[in-house]
């Protein structure tokens, strides 16, 4: 018997390259979820990494930085907030 696989529909789950069960420090939602304002995760609600190595939902940290009281610092470590452009490993 010859077996021809004519089509194969696979299923894969994506997640952010972050430790599991970790949450955004601002909205306290998991990274894999969305910020409080968004509906769809992924491209519509991306993550941002800071130079201090902290990571938030982009919308969460934007709102934070825009607030005057934040003085442009990371809410976790109080260092100045600077975005790191993360690139893929290869």
């Amino acid at each position: 018997m010859k077996v021809n696989i004519k089509s194969w529909t696979a299923v894969a789950a994506w997640r952010w390259d972050m430790p599991e069960d970790d949450v955004c420090g601002i909205c306290r939602s998991p990274y894999d979820s969305t910020c409080s304002k968004c509906k769809y995760p992924g491209d519509e609600c991306p993550l941002l990494w800071g130079e201090c190595n902290h990571c938030f939902h982009a919308h969460c940290i934007f709102v934070w930085i825009r607030a005057e009281t934040s003085h442009g610092r990371c809410p976790m470590c109080r260092q100045e907030w600077k975005i790191v452009a993360k690139v893929s490993q290869d």
Partner: protein, 816 residues
């Protein structure tokens, strides 16, 4: 005034203590002794003349009245009467009233001569069939008696008394006395009962309510032309002439008509049309306003000659109208459940009920009766959830017609809702049904997980109409606002939307629905291939309208994921990594990946095993491509999910199937490119080779064995390269019996070891099966099985006799 009271007292006294027959005038009232003597002589002459003795009716008839009361017999009668009258015979209260005396004489005669004749007729209850004849005979006898009693008065007495009182008055008075005597000394209850029956049966005949008549009644039919009606009228008229058409007869008539109406409504129409195909109220009203009053009036006119009765009847018609509609409605409500479940044919019955429920009393009667029907016929453990939901849809549809305001629906569906909440699978069934694909034109059958009515309903629903209804109470500018209906319960909520689906979504708790929709949608989306997800989008829109968008974020993400995956696939397959993998894969299967947002999907099957090598390579290439396109993200493969189309090239045939990935992986292991020897594996071998749980391996092997691709012997599964070889594989193989039956066997025997073994194998796999299923399956797997269900039944009974099988309520299963 005082005199009147005295008269009354006297009448009462006499009725209690009747004066003796020997009523004589008291001489004191007359005066002189000579006058007294003269008066007594005259009295004696007159009474002797009028005396009835014990003359029988027959004798009078044969001799003639004239012979009896020949004035030649008593030439001095006239003179005597003159004398008596001159002494005040005419005055009413006079003791020496000759007429009074005559009445007592009549009474005596009636009791002794006439009554015995009638008593023999009325002693026992009259059989229904003879009621008319007996009544008729009674009327004849009484008429003859009355003629007899009246004759001497009319011929001899009244003309002479004429100067003192008018003949008509006197005659009326005597007739009244006669009637009183008749009805007093006859068993009137029986007579009236018989009369009632005659009236009722005449009515039945006139209006053709007898069921075997069949022919429908014409509402403009004139009852007066009917022959039996004529007879009945004559009878009633005769009874009136002898004073038996009084109150008692009227009561009997009223009862008879009441019964007739019931018989007419229920017997003729309701029972002849149990599924309510005809809308009967208009025809009934035509009858009630046409033929029925004609009938009534005719009888009433014959019963009492007051013409005002006719105008009174006209006022009654409105009441009869109500009564008839109420009867029809009540009878119809009793079968409302049947109407609702056969809604396509029962619109007529439904309209009858709609005409009926115009008042609060009837509406609550409807609610009570229908709730009762629901609890006995639907809301019990024996009903499948899909059936309950189907009926629920019918109910909503029907009550939208019956009561557009929705108050009744609200009340009726409460018990259903309460009951459905206890059914754990209700939400699942609803959601699966909402997702079901409907092939237009093809009849849709309910399955244990899917209600066909819901599927039909959702598919007839326009997507655009699913709109979020504005909250009414807050909408101050709503010019079409209406107050709640008068009989609405305090927590009545106007249905936000009229459509059936919205009612359906009110059936279960919101949380239950949302949880179910999440898990089912996840399962469903991964199963369907491509497509536009129209049903899914619609479902989601519906739920959003009903439950609010925030609760359904996960579902929306799931749906979006399907679309995103499609978009993402394109850049990924163009990456170098994937291209390289694809180039090195033989056969180049169409490879596609659903990339799901793990956080939002329900718990997915995490089973891991070794997928076929080429596919694994493709996966790896795809994963690398994904990392290029979407940095900072990881992919985790879920090998147990997904669908595969495999094509099996066997020696004599090709088999193509769409199967789950694990199933495809198992059959792929049997594939070989070069050797002609069929490949064999045991479950354990495969489980180890593929690192797959034996459960999945076994499930897949069973699947392919059922498709005749593999066969099992001693736990080893082997490819069936050619179906012809398969026939010779050995006695344990079921399909071995494909061999033609031996030709010399004249009458094929159903009880063969092969059949027995097939049945045993079937029941081992399926547990209990009804005989129809066994028969059908045998016919499917054994082309030579040509026996009918009865013959199979004999075999099954034999096997029960051999203590191999048991029959439990129609299901055959193995004896343990």
């Amino acid at each position: 005034m005082g005199e009147h009271v005295r008269n009354m007292e006297q009448t009462i006294f006499q009725s209690v203590f009747p004066p003796s027959f020997e009523l004589r005038p008291s001489p004191e009232s007359i005066g002189s002794p000579s006058a007294q003597a003269e008066y007594m002589d005259a009295w004696s002459t007159a009474t002797r003349f009028l005396e009835l003795g014990d003359i029988s009716l027959g004798a009078v008839e044969s001799l003639g009245y004239a012979a009896r009361w020949n004035s030649d017999r008593f030439p001095d009668f006239e003179a005597a009467l003159q004398t008596l009258t001159s002494h005040g015979l005419g005055s009413n209260q006079d003791e020496g009233n000759l007429i009074e005396w005559y009445c007592f004489e009549v009474k005596r005669h009636f009791v002794t001569v006439i009554r015995p004749i009638l008593e023999s007729e009325w002693q026992l209850n009259v059989p229904c069939g003879e009621a008319f004849t007996v009544l008729k005979r009674t009327v004849t006898i009484l008429t003859a008696a009355k003629d007899l009693y009246m004759y001497p008065l009319l011929i001899h007495v009244f003309p002479i008394m004429d100067t003192y009182m008018s003949t008509n008055d006197a005659r009326q008075k005597v007739e009244n006395r006669l009637h009183a005597i008749f009805s007093h000394h006859l068993p009137t209850k029986r007579i009236y009962d018989a009369l009632g029956f005659v009236m009722y049966s005449t009515g039945c005949e006139v209006f053709r309510t007898f069921r075997d008549h069949g022919q429908p009644l014409l509402s403009d039919y004139d009852p007066v032309r009917n022959e039996s009606f004529q007879h009945m009228s004559e009878l009633v008229h005769g009874l009136r002439e002898v004073g038996l058409a009084g109150r008692g007869a009227q009561v009997a008539f009223a009862r008879a008509m009441d019964k007739l109406m019931g018989e007419f409504v229920i017997g003729q129409w309701v029972e002849s049309d149990p599924y309510g195909q005809r809308h009967m109220t208009p025809a009934l009203i035509r009858w009630i306003e046409g033929a029925f009053p004609t009938f009534m009036k005719q009888v009433l006119v014959n019963m009492a000659d007051g013409s005002n009765i006719v105008s009174e009847t006209d006022q009654e018609i409105v009441k009869w109208h109500e009564m008839a509609v109420a009867r029809l409605g009540k009878a119809r409500v009793k079968s409302l459940f049947d109407f609702i479940t056969h809604l396509d044919v029962s619109t007529g019955g439904l309209m009858d009920i709609k005409d009926y429920i115009a008042t609060p009393a009837t509406r609550s009667q409807l609610t009570a009766s229908f709730s009762q029907q629901l609890s006995t016929r639907l809301l019990h453990a024996g009903t499948a959830t899909t059936r309950i939901l189907d009926v629920y849809i019918y109910i909503v549809r029907a009550f939208k017609v019956l009561d557009p305001k929705g108050v009744l629906l609200d009340r009726i569906t409460r018990p259903v809702r309460r009951y459905v909440r206890d059914r754990n699978d209700a939400a699942r069934v609803i959601i699966w049904s909402l997702l079901a694909e409907v092939n237009h034109g093809a009849p849709l059958e309910s399955t244990p997980t899917m209600s066909s009515e819901i599927a039909r309903e959702i598919n007839s629903l326009e997507l655009e109409t699913v709109a979020i209804a504005p909250v009414e109470d807050v909408d101050w500018d709503n010019m079409t606002w209406m107050p709640d209906p008068i009989d609405a319960t305090p927590d009545y909520k106007k249905p936000a939307s009229e459509d059936v689906i919205m009612h359906l979504l009110g059936l279960c708790e919101r949380e239950v629905f949302i949880d179910e929709v999440k898990s089912i949608l996840g399962e469903h989306l991964l199963r369907v291939e491509g497509g536009q997800f129209i049903n899914e989008t619609r479902l989601l829109k519906l739920f959003t309208a009903r439950f609010g968008a925030d609760k359904l974020q996960a579902c929306e993400v799931m749906l979006k994921d399907m679309e995103t995956s499609r978009k993402l696939t394109w850049p990924i397959v163009r990456t170098e990594a994937y291209r390289a993998a694809s180039r090195s894969t033989p056969g180049r299967p169409r490879f596609k990946t659903h990339i799901v947002s793990s956080f939002f999907w329900p718990q997915l099957l995490q089973e891991v095993f070794d997928i076929p090598q080429p596919v694994d390579r493709l996966c790896k290439g795809f994963e690398q491509g994904f990392k290029k396109v979407k940095p900072n993200r990881r992919l985790k493969w879920l090998p147990a999910l997904g669908r595969v189309t495999v094509e099996l090239e066997l020696k004599d045939r090709r088999v193509e199937e769409e199967v789950p990935t694990w199933n495809a992986t198992v059959i792929n292991a049997f594939g070989s490119t070069n050797s002609t020897a069929p490949v064999s594996y045991t479950v354990e071998q495969l489980a180890e080779d593929l690192s797959m749980k034996p459960f999945f391996v076994r499930a897949a092997l069973t699947f392919w064995a059922a498709k005749n691709v593999l066969y099992e012997r001693n736990g080893t599964f082997t490819v069936i390269e050619s179906l012809n070889d398969y026939g010779n594989l050995g006695p344990s193989q079921p399909v071995q019996s494909v061999q033609p039956a031996e030709p010399e066997e004249e009458k094929p025997n159903v009880d063969t070891p092969v059949h027995r073994q097939m049945i045993l194998a079937m029941l081992t796999n399926h547990g209990g099966l009804p005989i129809e299923r066994i028969h059908m399956m045998l016919k499917v797997v054994l082309p030579t099985f040509t026996f009918d269900a009865d013959e199979l039944g004999h075999l099954l009974v034999t096997m029960i006799g051999d203590e191999i099988l048991v029959n439990q309520g129609g299901l055959f299963s193995l004896k343990r």
